[in-house]
Symmetry: C2
Subunit: 244 residues, 2 copies
Amino acid sequence: MTYCIGIKTNEGLVFASDSRTNAGLDNVNIYSKMMTHDIGDRTIIVVTSGNLGTSQAVYKSIEEDLKTQNIEINLNTCKNFEQIASYIGGLNIKHSSPQGMNTDNVLLGSTFLVGGQIKGQKHELYLIYPQGNYIRPADSKPYLVIGEVKYGKPILDRVVKPDISIGDASRCALISMDSTLRSDLTVGPPIDFAVFKKDADNLVALDCLNITDDTYSKICNQWSESIFKIFDSFPRFKWEKKFK
Amino acid sequence: MTYCIGIKTNEGLVFASDSRTNAGLDNVNIYSKMMTHDIGDRTIIVVTSGNLGTSQAVYKSIEEDLKTQNIEINLNTCKNFEQIASYIGGLNIKHSSPQGMNTDNVLLGSTFLVGGQIKGQKHELYLIYPQGNYIRPADSKPYLVIGEVKYGKPILDRVVKPDISIGDASRCALISMDSTLRSDLTVGPPIDFAVFKKDADNLVALDCLNITDDTYSKICNQWSESIFKIFDSFPRFKWEKKFK
């Protein structure tokens, strides 16, 4: 499996994705699932979960389309993020049903998160389904997750709101990722991590974090330790007083 | 779905179970999933997830067996908790394949957590599978969960250790339940909640908590608020300093 997070706050965007791929528990590998395109008038971040063959074919097509001259549509010619979502959705359908492959019994679908900003427009975040259609996040819960989404959802639900800073959103994404890593073997390091501040020319941060890296470990260790402090400060049950 | 938690620390046992049942999103109901037997030399707590018909039939059988005189096996005649787990496992198989029902296409399995103590023996916790066999929790992570287990697992993984008090284990169970309630519609209040202290004659606490009840809401609200304090105390990323 995989776990990818996209958060869109008023201040900007945060993306995080793990790097573990597996075809069964005994066939585990490390692949980056993030692609960034940070050129000219646009910054675009894509992360993906699902069938690795399909995801890689889509990324490869995106790169080839960028190199092809006089092509009708590529990441640079799309007029807005809805066109970008539609373009990636089209590639997703194309590559998830390659010629001659029976997709009735073999599910080859992939899911993508794509976000960023084109100069003069708003910053955007989309989730693209294996069927090629797409959604934006809800205004009140401005995040989208794909892959092994359940372990990391509670902390996002409690913390992510439109008005939190991209710093807090970044720390929340790393904790959400850490919770998932600890609870599920199919999600693993390193963590690709990208931060975009609204109206900036380039990405604010683009990192590949290992769990021993300072940036990652300081936040996650402090989180674990602080949880115990919260537990110390909780009110006691009436029945606990009898034992003391 | 359902979410049930069983925690076994050195000091005792904590059980929590939600009350929502659903057959599709448009057919939702409230049923208690907890059964307690706190009589004579033994305290036994059972919680269940899975097919409601099977779970109810098993509980009904347990109660009828207790009333039947000269019966070979019931909760009172079992010599230890392994026998209790085996007894419930047997009822589970019996009722999940009722005569004439085609179970090839219809999955009627239920899962149970059972724990407690028989005087003079150790306190115990078992998970009983739909197949009727059973396991005990790992020594290092002394908890078992059934049903919609993923949302609430990270907080259990971080907090539950053999040496925490049953008070902390209780608060952790309620937060784990609250995280699941908030993220998944198929898990809902009220929360049945039972606490047993090792070598005690009876349950220390047996409650049916609504989310507006003081016991529940104080802990869960304080948890939500404290999380934001942790976020305020986190170290900042280098790139954040540029914005200030």
